[in-house]
Subunit: 185 residues, 2 copies
């Protein structure tokens, strides 16, 4: 995996992919599936996401303030759903789903090398956590797997169906007002 | 367009489509393109989005607390980019892009019948507007165009390129833990 600038997070997250989120508390890691997230700011790169007390990962995120957002592609579709259908409270999901992990650079949560990209994050603001379970995260490091061929992200329709990335439309030439955001991934 | 329950907003927004946002202030409507948004809560349906003072629509949203989130499909790709590349300060975008509007049911902002769906919204929480330009909206009405054949959403990669919806993967049968979210659109 190759390190890329944290400020490029929007290139990966603005398309709205379903994500896997890893955390680690007292040496025990967990992974969950998350569909409620957004970019909040390009640079410094801020990300909003909803993780609630119903998620086993909530406690670890609250206590450590750290997580990794990993972007799975279509080859992992079933695993993404299955991870969301069991709990870290009684399941070692990494073992159950044969998910390899790798040490992150700046956070305690592990990276998932099976994913297209991994975004290391720290909680930047918890103002709205009590009311909406809405965390504001800052991306502090990003890793990308440059070698993988499969790059189609999954977009969750909320009910267990996913649309996969199809054709790409390139309209960069028309986006004259926002040229500064046309950085290579 | 057919009215559907506001609580179905997540079925349309969790996939992460690029959106058009309409507002209206003192009888003057405007439309902008928005890529930074997320579902925050299924029901009551809460949506997070970033609209900043650099957007002409910001003042209208602040003053009226109302907007419409419209979901364009691939046939509108160029219009989506062009709307994001001019300002309501000096352009009547509805005229410039030949965009038909229709009166909404609950808000002053207009609907865009050319889009797949229109979500009427009211600002529910502005706690983080000052800090991040992050609005929490509540969906109060949704309209869907049942007759249109083109339903492929656009996912903005942040630089003027878009991935379009490709194949659908149906994994509803595996999503046993969250059956209550499997409502028809």
């Amino acid at each position: 995996m190759e390190k890329i600038e944290p400020s490029k997070a929007y290139r990966l997250l603005e398309p709205g992919p379903i994500l896997l989120v890893t955390t680690a508390l007292k040496g025990k890691a967990n992974v969950m599936t998350m569909g409620f997230h957004m970019m909040i700011q390009h640079d410094p790169p801020l990300i909003g996401c909803v993780i609630g007390p119903w998620d086993h990962s909530y406690t670890a995120l609250r206590e450590t303030g750290e997580c990794v957002l990993a972007i799975p592609t279509v080859d992992l579709a079933k695993t993404v759903v299955d991870i969301g259908n069991c709990s870290g409270a009684d399941t070692d999901k990494f073992a159950a789903f044969k998910l390899e992990t790798k040490k992150a650079a700046k956070v305690s949560a592990p990276l998932l090398p099976a994913c297209l990209a991994n975004i290391e994050c720290r909680v930047a603001d918890d103002t709205l956590v009590k009311k909406y379970n809405l965390f504001v995260l800052e991306a502090v490091a990003i890793w990308m797997d440059r070698d993988r061929k499969e790059r189609r992200m999954l977009h969750h329709q909320g009910d267990g169906t996913f649309t996969t990335d199809g054709r790409t439309i390139d309209l960069k030439a028309r986006m004259v007002r926002w040229r500064e955001f046309q950085v290579a991934l």
